[in-house]
Structures are given as structure tokens and as C-alpha cells.
């Protein structure tokens, strides 16, 4: 897998390698009390985040949970699904087409992902390695919004997390190094019924990644191959080591 990070419009690595003074962003802590806690099931929810770097570049991603599967929406052109069976699916809503990667397909492409990291935005292992700060007076009136503060270091990066334990998601997650910073800020959270999740992924004409090579006569596949749809997306996620994940892949070519 080639990871030509310089071509990524917005990525953790490029954010951190950009020259410039670190400007700590002031984060509003009024995140999203869109719903009351009792109607929120942490296994069936949608969480919208603003992702921004120290230069003020911002985009949004939405995390959609459905038990053993999680979707990330980060552009109108495509969204991605991972599940606990080790599978990854890339959806193209405009074309109503999808490409499924079985576990063996991912391995053959040297792609490894950590479902827990994707499901929680941050790997539970990473959080476990961080220091929990003494809680200040609990401002939240809603138990879903009960916050815990963590901070720690990982591979020369400072991590700071405001964690929502009931939802097992960060309210705020910031990674900083001497070159810059990137942060995820929760904007909105709401319940996502299973039926809505299923509807989102229904009606797609699916192809296995393993079959892509034998279907270059398919106009959609030909176009997408030309555009490099498999490896060149930009998701901007981290793995448990704080490394950038592109399309769910972490690490780099051996």
C-alpha cells in the first residue's frame, strides 16, 4: 500500500507536518444535547464531528453505529462500513454501487483495521494507556454527557480526550505535536434505529474487491479504478498508535 500522504487534502500526518505555529483551538463545550439520554442506545446512534487542524481547516464526519458494524460518512461521494467480521465496504451513493472487502482481501492488500478503534473513534487500548484527570464539578445534567478527562503521550504526540463514558465516544479528542494539531469535536448525537441503518446500506449493487480485477469492462469499475477508489480515499482517522488510517487501513507498507 502506498501512502503518499502529501496528496491527502486533509490528514493527520499532513496536519502535523505542516510548518506553522501551533494555535490551540478553543473548543466550545456546548456539544450537542440533541436528545435525552434515555432514548440513546450507545449501540445504535449517529455522532457528527467537526474535524479541524491548527490552520483552521475543518471538515465533518459522521459515525453511525449499528451493533457489530460502524459507518463513517465523510463526503457526499462515498461512505464506509466496517464490521466485527473483519470486513470493509465502500459505498458510492450516487452510483448505488458498493465494493466489499472480505478479511482475506484486506490482508492481501496489507490492510489491517481495529474495529474497536473505529467504533469508538479512539482505541480503548489508547484510552487505557492515558492518565485520567480528576473530575471537576460535573457540569452535565444528562448522564449521557457525563465527562471524563484523559491525557497522555503517544509517539511524540500529546493526546487530550474528553470522554463520554455512557456513549463510549469522545466529546473532544485532540492530538498535538510540535508541528501542529488536529481535533475531533462532537457536534451532534442522535439515536439511529437499526432500520434506518439498514436502509442506508440497502439497494446497492455490490461487488467483492476480489472480483474487481475481472470486471474492468464494467463502466463503474473502470471509472473507479481510474480514479483510484480503493486506496486513495481520505478518512482522517487514527489507529491506536495515533497513526493515520486511510479508509480503515493503518500502518504502512512493509
Amino acid at each position: 500500500m502506498q501512502h503518499n500522504t502529501s496528496s491527502k487534502p486533509f490528514s493527520y500526518t499532513s496536519a502535523l507536518t505542516m510548518a506553522g505555529t501551533l494555535i490551540a483551538l478553543l473548543i466550545s463545550s456546548t456539544a450537542a444535547h440533541a436528545v435525552q439520554c434515555e432514548s440513546l442506545d450507545s449501540s445504535h446512534l449517529s455522532a457528527r464531528y467537526a474535524v479541524s487542524n491548527n490552520l483552521g481547516v475543518t471538515k465533518e464526519i459522521t459515525l453511525l453505529r449499528n451493533d457489530q458494524e460502524v459507518i463513517y460518512q465523510h463526503s457526499a461521494q462515498s461512505f464506509e462500513l466496517w464490521n466485527t467480521r473483519g470486513e470493509y465496504v465502500r459505498y458510492f451513493p450516487n452510483e448505488r454501487r458498493s465494493v466489499s472487502y472480505q478479511n482475506g482481501d484486506l490482508l492481501s492488500l496489507n490492510i489491517h483495521f481495529d474495529f474497536k478503534q473505529l467504533n469508538h473513534l479512539i482505541s480503548p487500548k489508547t484510552i487505557a494507556s492515558m492518565q485520567q484527570l480528576p473530575s471537576s464539578s460535573n457540569k452535565a445534567t444528562d448522564i449521557c454527557m457525563t465527562e471524563q478527562q484523559y491525557q497522555g503521550q503517544q509517539q511524540n504526540h500529546s493526546l487530550a480526550i474528553t470522554w463520554l463514558d455512557k456513549l463510549a465516544l469522545p466529546k473532544l479528542f485532540r492530538v498535538t505535536d510540535k508541528k501542529g494539531s488536529i481535533q475531533y469535536e462532537l457536534l451532534e448525537i442522535k439515536a439511529l434505529p437499526k432500520s434506518d441503518f439498514i436502509a442506508l446500506t440497502s439497494g446497492y449493487r455490490d461487488i467483492d474487491f476480489a472480483d474487481v480485477g475481472d470486471n474492468e469492462s464494467d463502466p463503474f469499475i473502470a471509472k473507479m479504478i481510474h480514479q483510484g477508489f480503493i486506496q486513495h480515499g481520505s478518512s482522517g482517522f487514527y489507529d491506536s498508535q495515533g497513526k493515520q488510517i486511510q479508509n480503515g487501513e493503518s500502518g504502512h507498507q512493509h
Partner: protein, 499 residues
């Protein structure tokens, strides 16, 4: 008396030859192990005779198993053996077969072919275009109406008509192009389940491939069908044992239809069910071990419900088919060599090729060489190369080390691997990665390539055909791929033509 004289003449002649050699060649030549081994091999060949008629035929197809794949896989296997001299001296099991031919693979509309057109040539004796299964090239791809009356009779149809038993095995979906061409006629290889059929196909009553596998008359039914592709056989509202949904919109459970329609039938979907099959009481065995393709051999141990190996599937098929005193035709595909190459991952292609070699070895061991023609071929090649000047015994998936042992360095000052691809996902874009500290032998390493493409492509050069047993004398020269049909037709007297 005449015969004895003739033999005496031959004997004296060969004595003269050896004597002449002894005079001409120095002992450092004739004492060489290379010399002696090769002389013995040729001497053995002079004694070879193969009967012309085969009771049984087993045809192995390595999907995408080109000649460079064979060479690399034999070295890969050889280097894992104790006391290997370097790996290069090794032979895959079927490379020991006495007869070999080179096979031209082009489709009627493509210089570099796909599996559908090539397998159509192999099983029908007629070359056709890419993408179509056992229909002639008068048909338009993916056009049902145009395929009508252009359907071709396959080896499976002929063998069943003769009263033989037939079987198809694959590590790909059993509805995938290569195995499908053996039992289905379709103008589109992707019509694997009814949900893949466009309105035109439904209107003109073309049937999906899975349907064609199961809904055959008992007289023309497959006795064994083992592979992946379970989703194409079960309804879309049904979840299988590995928590995957089906892809049939017609609501038909074809696994149920298999057991309902055929006598002494069984359907299995996992390793335990497969192991429990008693071939003495089973005459029709359907095994679908994965929703899609079966696992790569390198990953098979990690499968959810467990999958049999290609070797195990081959052995079980032979045991079951062997019950028919008239004989059998078995077609076995190693379907994922192709996929690993498409992904630019040589390790998995090597592992699956070695497993195919193991399956062939098991077939040889469990059949009578006097009555069983065993052939091994590929459908097409891949743009996979073995390059540089690595020293003897250099790890085939490693960085090139020169004969002196030093790391070979390219013009960009960086090392490079022996195996690589002309195109594919491992393409170097911009500056080439420095592989100095990279384990290129890792199973997940993606080889570097030249032209950037999301999926590495097939290649157009010839592939090989290896044969042993009755009828194998017909395997010689450079042949069109559809000749393979005629060799089987002739050897097994299937009655497909004048033979």
C-alpha cells in the same frame, strides 16, 4: 524371431552410442550429477508408453497460474523444504508429469483473455469471447436473447450422457466464471444469482448460474459440487451459518432444492459437515463453504466455520466419483491464485499454487495411473515477473542479492525484489519506497509494480498444460486452448465429435 533380432539391433546400437560418448566426452562431464540425472530422465522417457483411452479424467485449472507463477511457486515450495539446494531444483507435483504443451489463451475478442472465455474453450472445444460462459461468440455479452441457440454442450454434459459421474470443485465461488463454464451456459459471467439478472434476461428466460448448477435433470446432474458462493444459492432474507445473507430474490433455497431433487444427496457448508460426509451413502454432494470465495490458503485456518482445503475437496470428490464403474470426469479449480495476483500479493498466489500442487499429488496417489488421465493447466497468465540476478537460493520473495551475497541496488540507489508486477496496486508513484528495512517475504507484502492500476491485470502469453496417464500422449506442441476439450473428448471417448 524378427522381434528378437530387432531388439538385439537396438541394444547393440545403444551400446555403440554410449561407447562413442565415452570416447568424445571427458569424465568430468559424464560424471556430473547434472549429466547423469538428465541422461537417466531421457532414458526413462524412451520407455514411456501411455494407453490411449482413459476411464477417468481429472482436469486441474489454476486460475491465473502462468509460467512465472509456476517457476516462483516451485522455488517458494523448494525453499521451505529441508535440505533444499536452493529451491530452484524443486518441481511442483505436476511438473513431474511426462507430457507438456504450451497453450494459446486469447479470447475471440481479446488478446489478453479472461477466465470465462478461456474456460469456455477448455470445456466446449470452441473459443469464445471474454465474459461469456459456454455460449459461442455469436452471442453478445450480457444479452440473453442473443445467447439463445448459441449455447454450447460441455464436457460435463457429454460425460453425464455417457453415464460417467461428474464433479466440479473450486476455491472460488462455485458460480465463478471458471467452474461455471463447466455446467452453465450464460452470456454474462456475473449472472451468478437471479438478483444479478437484468430485466432483459428475465424477460427472455435466461437462468442464473447457481440455478443452472442445481436445477439439472438427475441424469445430467453433477455428483459433486464443492466451493464457495453460498450467497448465490440462498434467499436474500435468509442468513447463513456464517451470518451472511443470501442474494436470491426469487425466494428459492437452492441448497434445499439440491437435497429435494437429487437422490442420496447432501448439502454441507462447513468443515465439520464436510468431514462427516460418508461417500458410500452419498451420491450427490453440494458443499458451499463460504458466502463468497473460499479463503486464501494462507488465511484458511482463520475462517469462521472452517473450510476444507483444495486437497481435501479433491480427495473427497475422487472417493465419491470413483463409485461409478464407468468412470468420471472431475474438474478442479484453484480459483484464488488469480485474486492474489490481482491484489499484487505474490505470497498468497504462491501459497495457493503450492496447495494446488498438493491437491494434484493427492489425486495421483489415489487413482490408478493406467486408467486415469490427469491434466493440469491454467486459464491465463498474470503480469508477474522474476527479475534481476539473484544468487542461487535467494529467497524468491526477498530482495535481490547478487552472487557475491551483496544487496543489489537499482539506479535509484535502493534495493528491489526478485518478483514484481508490470502493473497493479503496488505501483510506484513518485519516489520508490526504500525496501532496505522491509520484510518483503511477509505474507501481506504487496510487490512493487510499474504501471499504477487498482488491480493488477492478466497477461497474454501462453500458459502450460501438463498431463499424465492414458491419452496424455496427445498433449504436445503449442496448442489453442480449445484443443484441451478435444484431448479429453478423445481420451475418454465422450462422443462429442467424430472420435
Amino acid at each position: 524371431m524378427i522381434n528378437i533380432k530387432k531388439i538385439a539391433a537396438i541394444a547393440s546400437c545403444s551400446l555403440v552410442t554410449i561407447a562413442a560418448n565415452a570416447a568424445v566426452l571427458p569424465s568430468n562431464q559424464t560424471d556430473s550429477q547434472w549429466f547423469k540425472d538428465s541422461a537417466q530422465l531421457v532414458s526413462d522417457k524412451t520407455q514411456q508408453t501411455a494407453p490411449k483411452k482413459a476411464k477417468n479424467v481429472i482436469l486441474f485449472v489454476g486460475d491465473g497460474m502462468g509460467i512465472s507463477t509456476l517457476t516462483a511457486a516451485r522455488i517458494f515450495e523448494g525453499q521451505q523444504q529441508i535440505n533444499n539446494q536452493g529451491g530452484e531444483e524443486n518441481l511442483l507435483s505436476f511438473e513431474h508429469f511426462p507430457k507438456t504443451a504450451l497453450v494459446k489463451t486469447y479470447n475471440t475478442n481479446q488478446q489478453t483473455p479472461d477466465s470465462a472465455g478461456t474456460m469456455t474453450a477448455i470445456v466446449t472445444g470452441v473459443k469464445s469471447k471474454a465474459g461469456v460462459l459456454s455460449v459461442s461468440d455469436n452471442s453478445l455479452r450480457a444479452n440473453c436473447l442473443s445467447s439463445k441457440d448459441n449455447e454450447l454442450i460441455t464436457l460435463v454434459d457429454l460425460a453425464n450422457a455417457k453415464g460417467l459421474s461428474t464433479g466440479v470443485v473450486s476455491t472460488a465461488r462455485i458460480t465463478h466464471a471458471t467452474p461455471a463454464a463447466a455446467y452453465a451456459a450464460s452470456p454474462e459471467r456475473n449472472w451468478e444469482a437471479d438478483s444479478n439478472l437484468p430485466a432483459e434476461a428475465v424477460a427472455n428466460e435466461c437462468k442464473d448460474i447457481a440455478y443452472q448448477l442445481v436445477m439439472r435433470d438427475e441424469a445430467n446432474a453433477l455428483s459433486v459440487a464443492l466451493g464457495g458462493g453460498r450467497r448465490n444459492f440462498i434467499p436474500s432474507d435468509v442468513t447463513d451459518g456464517e451470518n451472511k445473507t443470501g442474494r436470491r430474490d426469487d425466494g428459492v433455497d437452492l441448497t434445499q432444492a439440491w437435497t429435494d431433487n437429487l437422490s442420496n444427496s447432501a448439502y454441507v457448508w462447513d468443515q465439520a459437515g464436510f468431514d462427516a460426509i460418508d461417500v458410500t451413502t452419498t451420491d450427490h454432494l453440494l458443499g458451499l463453504f463460504n458466502s463468497s470465495h473460499m479463503e486464501y490458503e494462507a488465511d484458511r485456518a482463520d475462517d469462521t466455520a472452517g473450510e476444507p482445503s483444495l486437497t481435501e475437496m479433491t480427495q473427497k470428490s475422487i472417493e465419491l466419483l470413483n463409485k461409478n464403474d464407468k468412470g468420471y470426469l472431475l474438474i478442479v479449480e484453484s480459483g484464488r491464485i488469480d485474486h492474489a495476483h490481482h491484489a499484487g500479493n505474490a505470497y498468497r498466489a504462491m501459497m495457493d499454487t503450492v496447495e494446488l500442487s498438493n491437491a494434484v499429488k493427492a489425486a495421483v496417489a489415489t487413482t490408478d495411473p493406467a486408467e486415469t488421465l490427469i491434466m493440469v493447466t491454467a486459464d491465463h497468465s498474470h503480469v508477474f515477473t522474476i527479475a534481476g540476478y539473484p544468487k542461487r537460493g535467494n529467497p524468491i520473495l526477498g530482495l535481490v542479492h547478487n552472487v557475491g551475497g551483496d544487496l543489489a541496488i537499482a539506479k535509484d540507489g535502493k534495493p528491489f525484489t526478485t518478483v514484481g508486477y508490470t502493473n497493479g496496486p503496488g505501483a510506484v508513484v513518485g519516489v520508490r519506497d526504500d525496501l532496505s528495512s522491509v520484510d518483503t517475504k511477509d505474507k501481506d507484502f504487496m510487490q512493487q509494480s510499474l504501471v499504477p492500476m487498482n488491480s493488477e491485470t492478466h497477461a497474454g502469453e501462453d500458459i502450460t498444460l501438463h498431463a499424465t496417464g492414458p491419452g496424455s500422449d496427445l498433449v504436445q506442441g503449442v496448442i489453442e486452448q480449445n484443443v484441451i476439450f478435444h484431448i479429453i473428448n478423445q481420451a475418454q471417448t465422450l462422443g462429442g465429435t467424430k472420435y
